[in-house]
Amino acid sequence: MTQLTPRAAPARRPRGRAFLQALPFLLPNLLGFLLFTLLPVLACFALSLADYRLAPITSFHDLQEQVRFVGFDNFVRLLGWHREAGRLVANDALFWRYLGNTLFLMLGIPLSIAGSILLAGLLNQRLRGITIFRTIYFLPTVSSAVAVVIVWKWIFHQQPNEIGLLNSFLTTLGMSHPPNWLGSMTWAKPAFIIMTLWATVGGYNCVLYLAGLQGIPQELYEAADLDGAGVWARFRHITWPLLSPTTFFVVTMSVIAGLQGSFLFTAAFLMTGGGPAGATTTLMLYIYNYAISWHQLGYAAAIACVLFLLVFGFTLLNWRYGQRLVHYQ
């Protein structure tokens, strides 16, 4: 490394000067990063320890009025339990329910990943016009989520005298009482999963898998052919192990994205308002409601911190145990 570094012996250069030289490059981004990314993360933890009702602050007195340090009260209210008529009851039963919703909606992830692998396999062939298909599969990813959600709401539509595209189709197939997708406690979540599947299956994951497939040496398949391996054996013993680094990355990112659920937030916000009866409320929507609709920023921050810990915990576990399943070439 050192021989490549210009102006030999940079170590002897005064440290202050080196820093000053880097400062103009660093400063514009670093200041913004500190103010709008790094400090907010720390501030979110601080906020979660406070009772903060939102109102304009014009003086220090206002600040003292509105921000009250409450220690871990928010977390006790969020995660704790109490006894009610001899039974243990969660302090915030809704939180557990919405955490359940969030996890339930993540059941679509394995389906989406399996679909992405399949599509990538199809796209990895030398066929004319293959880029057109790749572009089409990617369209939902680049489209405005709001527009996508609005058209899906119209597709799932079901009113006494009006039925949407999907149920028209199901009726034509002979189903006499197709589900009232977005209006039913049972079917709202599957509807969300179907829509998410459509939106993600040809997206980032598919492109990553395609890149992964293109990195697999062709000779391996030729050798397998000589040994008389079938399609499944080729997939099981060559493709799948060699794609495992991609799978590791894809699973990590999908789970993190699933926990945050920004697409599902948009969907719940615009399609169902989190209903019916909270069936599609995710943690993100719960946080949003506390912060924006109910002006309780401290509590919202506490939920956000828990979400962060979930993401962090998953990443850590995945890193420690998931890595073992990865096969590096």
Partner: protein, 348 residues
Amino acid sequence: MLKLLAYLALSAVGITMLLPFAWMISTSLKAPANAVEFPPRWIPSEPETVQVAGEDRLIAEVTGEPGLRVALLRYSPEGVRVQILSPASRAGEQLTLSEADLRPVRQTKLHWGNYLAAWRAHGIQVREAFFGLAHRVHGFLVFYLNSIIVTTCITIGTVFTSSLAAFAFARLRFPGRDSIFLGYLATLMVPSIVIMLPVYALLSSLGMTNTYAALIFPPMFSAYGTFLLRQFFMTIPRDLEDAAVIDGASPFAVYRHIILPLSKPALATLTTFVFLHSWNDFLWPLMVVDRLALKTLPIGLAHFQDSYTTEYHLLMAASVIVMVPVLIVFMIGQRYFVRGIALSGMKG
């Protein structure tokens, strides 16, 4: 044979992907009364009518009698009273037919006016001065201008500041460099809401929500851009700049004349990413803006949906209006976008 199967599978998935878009466009071109129909009609069409004795009458064809076209006059217990329109030899003759034999004639009719109606919709009209425009401005004009302003500023700001910082991380030596970069990396994993809440709290206690600054500055400095460019800059061989440095080139000259020109693909990738992301961003604008005059396209469209919940033809037209520019940018930047996913993905 295998090729054919592959094409079939590819097309089946492709059609599934396109159906919602096609349905969006189809509905956006329908007359209000025809937006909800069973069975659904993909090509918007309406029953054809003709004037008979000063009144609009539906036109129908008759099963089993090719070439016969009739105008429906009135329904009666015996059947439908009709008047023959063609063939010309029998025109004007009236007879009664069974309703089951009549098939209404439809003609394709595309209501392009829906787009204009959505654009001009009253419910989203901005009733205040907007950049020296009149006091009443069409909602989508305002949303478009806001989206263009906000997205352009965020994109330029991100690419400019993060390329400078990435240069410092990739090429300069200074105390604390690696720890600062680690700080950047650590935030990549943090859910965005964790970052948004305190910034929102700060902005709203300072009374700074509902400003362009609130829309533009906070999203500009995510660690992502710096990370992506730093990874790319690291792959550029150092030999190139050594000569320049020996000749006395300043770090800025190296950045400007060597690194930037060699990084065009990475810069294009980041530009496409940031553009698409901020153009489609929903949550942050939703949090910091509730004045109509400051809304960007996604939250403007959400507002439109609130006001026109059941007018599907307008809703779909509005969705198309919002979607088109993104699709154009994607078509142009597609190459960089796909490469960018592979680049950032495999490094992660």
